[in-house]
Assembly symmetry: C5
Homo-oligomer: 366 residues x 5
């Protein structure tokens, strides 16, 4: 039962009927760390803070500031940061309640995004994985400042931090909206290796199912299909979310950054097509598995039928001449026994010819 | 037949062709109780009334009044309340005719909502439940007043009443539209534990179906799928209803409350995704169940074929030498019997090797 | 072949390429009767006419006139009425050509509706019914006058006529558009008892299919599914038609009547959901039926395999000691026979244990 | 292989990369005939021409002219006619390249339509037909002139020509757009008898599949489904095409003719519904066929199991007492033989009772 | 494993998190060749360049210039050309990153298109092909200049080059947008022979599956379905892309060229319909294959059942009279043996009659 409970989709929610906007830290949350990065095209400053007081001074010094929060243990820091940055309490609640689906919510001149990041590697189909574990990242964009909130410490945004280090780099010459794009793009592109890996695994599974020598079961196809479904449910909202960003031309995103976001949208469409292809493959695989099962059964039944059809008449004949009637003249002739053997051989050969004509026996068979 | 009649979807309707707006109390309705709650940010008053006369005075005293009606026995009270609050007769008819689907109907400056509440716990799949029993709540929102009409007395709105007790609470500082949101949100969130529980049950069923040692039947999958379908039909209209509330920007709902309703809309989308996931699981489960059935049949057939193929030729040989021909020289040699036994053993071993090469026998078999 | 011809969907059409607007009475049409009802809030007059001359005087006398035509034998009367009321020839052709699907066509300030009425009772699934027979009603609404054209005399509109008798009744205080609503609502609501009855029948069929003791066939599920499909095809266009009436805000329908029509639209959506539920049930039922068939086959195969596996080795042993070799020393020992019986018993018990371990035999079995 | 090539969908195209607007006559085209019909309400003139010179004079004489072209052998005449009537080269190319799908293309004040005509009779399912052969008709409408181009000479438009002969007929009192409607309507209505006939055939096939005494194969269902699919692909674009004509309110079609076209649109929707019904029937039929196959297998297996279960134990007993042990005291008692026969009868009756209790044998059985 | 890796959909991407706009040449790229074609209606000049310097002079000389780039080895030339022509870095990145899906992106007054070209011939179903290998072509249209970028040297655009050679040809009298159309049309039309060929192959496969004498396996249907799916994924985006070109009326394309593009759009719809037809055929084929498998099993089982049912009772009788009871009076009568043979014959004939009545044996049978 414990196993089943772990698969519940909504296990960490505030009690029903409680006031909205309540921030309840999950029991097993990691320590909260807040990393501040301020930069202009020419300079960059980076620091780690433990309360929200340093933020105002930092924002004053730098044209663009990135507040990168990891871990939910100290919910009061997150709350304080949210208040200072003017995040709506409901959005902040969304940010720390996990199991949100990717979405975008305009909030006046600001933008709030929920994205989910790919795991480091694809789950193993052959170990029975049926769902994919993603982490939630909340992205809050306002002029000159980007706030990102993640549950776990991870190396996810390291490439972005690295690109920020280069003086005069493209990313440094643009505003917080381009930084938001860079973060989103990194998250979306993180799914490519997962799908590559899963595609490899699905092809191995496919080879396994189609191999007539192995006895794969429908269960592994079922499990793999659930895994692909789980991946699809994660990727599916990206297209909608990124398309809404494109279409709504929200003021928080400049025309120039929008061109780049269109690229990210293209990537999300490619991801979705790859997942849909996997899903189609799984559906076809189940069908072909059933077809192969039924073909194997046919083979087995043919062997049984051939054997029975061959030996039942012969056995009957032997039974007849094993009877103990006194008056069975054939028994006492010299040629009776060899003649019967000849008859039996004829019947057997006739049967085999008939089977061969029906295609039940092939030369290559035995 | 009585059983079947209980599953009729439309069993309590007025006669066809009767004038609309007729209020017919169902035969087994519970006594009607009317609870009035009036509040401002600083004070709250609560009372129970038996006729509609007290309402006007109450509304004059308080900026926001909640009229919470339970039970349909005294239809005249409901009718009188409806008239005093200016509810359109057709809407009042909808409110007391059960089996409405969730919907929203704007009525000038007012809003009429039908919602359905989750049962306290999920039905038991293993007890053969095929549908989910929901209660209907009609919500009628007008400036300064909220009317809710339910068939059964229940603890459903107790959390809202509790939140109302706190002086200066967020809910007390807002209008009737926020109260309508609080009620709707409570109703929608009530489905989360039901889906959690159902997910647990489905996973137990899944483990059961995939376990090769148990002999689960397709019937329980069918029943569970019907249960999930029933749940889906209940939740499905919520998204549409809440989306219409969002989109139409009806005057009865302030911008501020609309932000909260968007949250409820998100929840309804999450519920729908969880139910769709359950449905996909059930469909896949039926397929894998059929695949396992066919695999088991294959196993059974292989045993039969191995046994028959092994013993039929041997039995035939024994039959031949059980014949009573006078002229069977082999019978009378000293080595005849042991030689035949040797031939039989050779045939048996040959057969087993052939089966092993085809993969029908494995080392691990038993 | 005659049977098949009766199921042709388009068997009563004018010849292809003939000019449109041709009124061809079907061969087996019932006599035409025309009933005129004129009413105001205070008075009502009712008469039956045989030609169209009386109509003008009647319309002059009463604010609202209902021309209720049944039967197609005297096509000239229908044509004359149509001309006097200014019905477009094509619409009149639609009205008398049966097998139209429900639709609404605005015609300037007028409205033309085709609806189809439910049969008095649901067809019997257990008698192999595969389609539902509906009657067509054409409704032509213009200011102050409603024309309805039906093929058959029926009690369908009797409740409306009854409600019209009451002086000062709601229906009498409104225009022809409310009368059109009353007629349409009566037609739509007529499907509720049919679906109730069909739901009962489907549940009986379901119980039958799921009962392991009965041998239901897939054919009855197929037939029932066709019946449900047929019902769905009839109800499906109602939603679209009534929604178009709502959305297009045609001048012929007042705001007040539109509120009532929304109610009818709700009913059509409820009907459609109930039919879709039936359809899903039928699809699931076919799957579970196939699953049960395959389970039954498994049971049968297991019995066969157990019996064969038990008796084939034993029979072989008996055969061996039935051979007539001279030199079979076992045959002549005193303990040979009982020892062989003991060996046979051991083999049998071993086999049974092996079956039990594989789960093929259960304590509760035979 | 030759057979397969005939089913290629695109076998008569100009070489890839060739300039568009090239008119290549197919090799097996029929001789080109051009029929001119000019008419007003009072008079009509009809002639056959061999080059395009006569056209201009004819158009000057008559308010409406119909140029009806059949056969593609003399492509230069078609080209000359097209040039005189100002048809865009690409549209002319479409007109003579067969295998176009129905579509409408506005060309300034003119309209270009491709329609496909039904064959004279439905293909025979029982002869293995898998697709429907339609002819292409290009319709080019401009003020005062209608050009129709068909590949084959056929009686298709004869009813329209007949209606044109009547002085003062409705069709004569209207413009070229009404003539275009008459032509289109004739083409669309030509599918009704085909679907009627196909429906008959499908019902015969259905009766055949459901009859337990016949051994229909899934192949004929597959073939029939392909035929229905082929018909659906032909009819499907009509709805879209005719709806576009309705919606776009192109100037070439008067309001009055548009009302008639709506009727044709209704017909195309009815056709589509009838085809969809056939398609659903075919899908259900395949399922029920599989269900019946599996039921028949169950019957066969039961017979085998009953026989084996009955005779294997009895045969074993007979085998035991056929053994040649010296020390088998039962053999030498007087009652041994009848006692064994009694035991055998008891076993047989017990088995049969057990089968009967499991429902494997019924009173009505053989 | 190596095999599986080759099927990864996204194997040549820049590292995740790297700055966008990075041009990384694939390892196995072919040498870069750049072909310049400049033309007016009267003259044409053609040359091959190795750096981008010659481009400016060329563009000055000719009203329309086509820059046709093949091969990715010298990425710096492509980059230089892109810069000179003002291509956005992201678009240039798209052009050289393979595995893009067809799309159109407006870039101010310019248009960027990705198309994928058909392979020279359809992959062989009977060699187990499961996907189609397409080449990517990037098309960049700006006033007076067309840039095309392809990975591989191929004869793909040779027909266009040939048409350009003709002085005063239609293509020469139009702008770069018509050239872009010619290129796109050539690419789209290249799929026609592939689908023709695949249709032939599918029909051969179909004949194979439906032939009762061959033992086709579900695996080849599965493989072919994957191949068709792969083709569909390639063709699918064309419709959308070409429709967007039509709808958006981008300034880079003149009205005249748009008419031609509509023709290309029609072709893409035809392609899609042909592929969808193939897909439906494959789905139906799998079903009918399963139906045939089950039918074959039925045949096999019937043979087994007939043989067993025939010989088991006879064998039992023979066994009874093979028993060694002393007191079996029948054994010692003169008529015992022939009488038993007669009884056996009667039983056998009765059985055969029963089988014949059940339809298990037919006159035409073996």
């Amino acid at each position: 039962m414990k196993h089943a409970q772990n698969r519940r989709p909504f296990r960490r929610r505030p009690p029903i009927g409680s006031a909205p906007g309540t921030l309840a830290p999950p029991d097993d949350s990691t320590p909260t760390s807040v990393r501040l990065v301020g930069y202009s095209a020419d300079a960059i400053e980076q620091t780690t803070i433990v309360d929200s007081d340093a933020l105002a001074a930092f924002r004053a010094r730098w044209p663009v500031v990135w507040v990168d929060v990891c871990g939910f243990r100290s919910m009061h820091i997150i709350k304080a940061l949210g208040e200072r940055l003017g995040v709506h309490p409901l959005l902040l609640e969304d940010a720390v309640h996990l199991h949100q689906r990717p979405k975008v919510e305009p909030d006046g001149e600001r933008l709030f995004l929920i994205v989910r990041t790919a795991p480091g590697s694809a789950p193993r189909i052959d170990e029975g994985a049926t769902s994919i574990a993603t982490d939630q990242v909340a992205v809050y964009l306002q002029p000159g400042c980007l706030l990102t909130i993640r549950e776990h410490q991870s190396a996810l945004f390291d490439p972005v931090h690295t690109r920020l280090q280069v003086d005069g780099a493209f990313i440094r010459r643009h505003g917080a909206d381009y930084l938001a794009y860079a973060v989103t793009d990194t998250v979306v592109d993180g799914f490519f290796p997962v799908i590559d890996d899963l595609t490899d695994q699905v092809h191995v599974l496919e080879d396994d199912v189609l191999d007539p020598r192995t006895h794969s079961s429908g269960v592994s196809i079922h499990r793999a299909r659930q895994l692909v479904s789980s991946l699809r449910r994660t990727i599916w909202p990206y297209r909608e979310t990124l398309f809404a960003l494109q279409r709504d031309r929200h003021g928080a995103i400049t025309e120039e950054t929008r061109v780049f976001l269109r690229d990210t949208l293209d990537h999300s469409v490619q991801l979705l097509e790859a997942v849909d292809h996997l899903r189609d493959t799984m559906t076809g695989l189940m069908e072909v598995h059933l077809s192969l099962e039924s073909q194997r059964m046919n083979e087995v039944m043919k062997v049984l039928t051939i054997i029975s059809t061959l030996f039942m008449p012969l056995g009957f004949l032997a039974g007849v001449y094993g009877m103990n009637f006194t008056n069975m003249p054939e028994l006492h002739t010299t040629w009776g026994y060899p003649a019967l053997l000849a008859v039996m051989a004829t019947i057997a050969i006739g049967m085999l010819l008939w089977f061969w004509r029906r295609g039940w026996i092939r030369a290559s068979d035995p």
